[in-house]
């Protein structure tokens, strides 16, 4: 695979590959680190890969091996990645769903987030975009960590339900 094809693919599939890593390790910063390592490995191995290879499938194999290899390091970060036996079956979901399904999901997510009250968008932004710890948000809002966690859980759940409804709207292929 040529370098420019690799770079284009890494940009195009970054979101899906990062999500795959987050699903496996359960932590975004750790997933970001692993994504960097994945990109380095792919750069090293690109010459042995076909130009038109199935990029997500290639990424899945590398991602699963990276998580297995880094299990000890992740444990030191108090993370509990999924068991080795199910890493691959979870990662395969991203491959089987197809790229357009994830694009449609992203579009629906944007629409649903736009319907949220400003207060809820602010909370999502602080926790996920700015990666502010739940403890710090709780202190700032003079509430408990549990209350912030519960609020985020309810928000994420209602966002996901809204996304599912949008994706089932008639007229969607």
């Amino acid at each position: 695979m040529r370098e420019e094809t690799l770079v284009r693919n890494l940009l195009q599939y970054k979101r899906v590959l990062e999500a795959m890593l987050i699903a496996m390790v359960g932590d975004r910063p750790a997933a970001e680190d692993l994504y960097q390592e994945m990109a380095i490995l792919m750069t090293r191995k690109r010459e042995g890969v076909d130009e038109d290879c199935r990029f997500i499938a290639w990424g899945r194999r590398i991602a699963v091996n990276l998580v297995r290899d880094h299990r000890k390091r992740l444990a030191r970060q108090n993370l509990r990645p999924l068991d080795d036996e199910i890493l691959d079956s979870v990662a395969r979901v991203y491959e089987e769903a197809g790229e357009s399904a994830w694009e449609e999901r992203l579009d629906a997510l944007r629409r649903c987030a736009g319907l949220l009250p400003e207060k809820d968008r602010g909370l999502l932004r602080r926790r996920y975009e700015l990666d502010e710890p739940a403890d710090s948000i709780a202190r700032d809002l003079s509430t408990s960590r549990g209350a912030v966690d519960n609020a985020l859980y309810r928000l994420r759940k209602s966002l996901h339900d809204c996304v599912e409804l949008r994706l089932q709207e008639p007229g969607r292929s």
Binding site: A31, A134, L141
Partner: protein, 92 residues
């Protein structure tokens, strides 16, 4: 003893927040192994989390307050200045 009935959505949420206990992790792993629909749900929720984190949901940025609004300052009540004699008159 009755087995614990887990709320799988909650466990996925905890997993994605890096906060599963050992028991919860064991239960989630066992269920994921035999439940393709749950694997799909985990993948979808992780994707949504990645998108929320990657500023790909721009609507989050629009006027979403980063800090809670500051309490309005209490203004010291100003006493109405009485017009003293001479006010409004040209002293020159």
């Amino acid at each position: 003893m009755k087995p614990i009935r887990w709320d799988w959505d909650f466990l996925i949420h905890r997993h994605l927040a890096g906060g599963l206990t050992e028991d919860q992790a064991a239960a989630l792993n066992a269920e994921l192994a035999g439940n393709p629909a749950l694997r799909r749900r985990l993948a979808e929720l992780a994707f949504e989390q990645a998108a929320l984190a990657a500023v790909e949901v721009p609507v989050l940025n629009e006027s979403a307050p980063l800090l809670k609004p500051r309490k309005p300052r209490k203004r010291a009540k100003r006493k109405k200045r009485r017009k003293s004699e001479g006010d409004g008159h040209d002293l020159n």
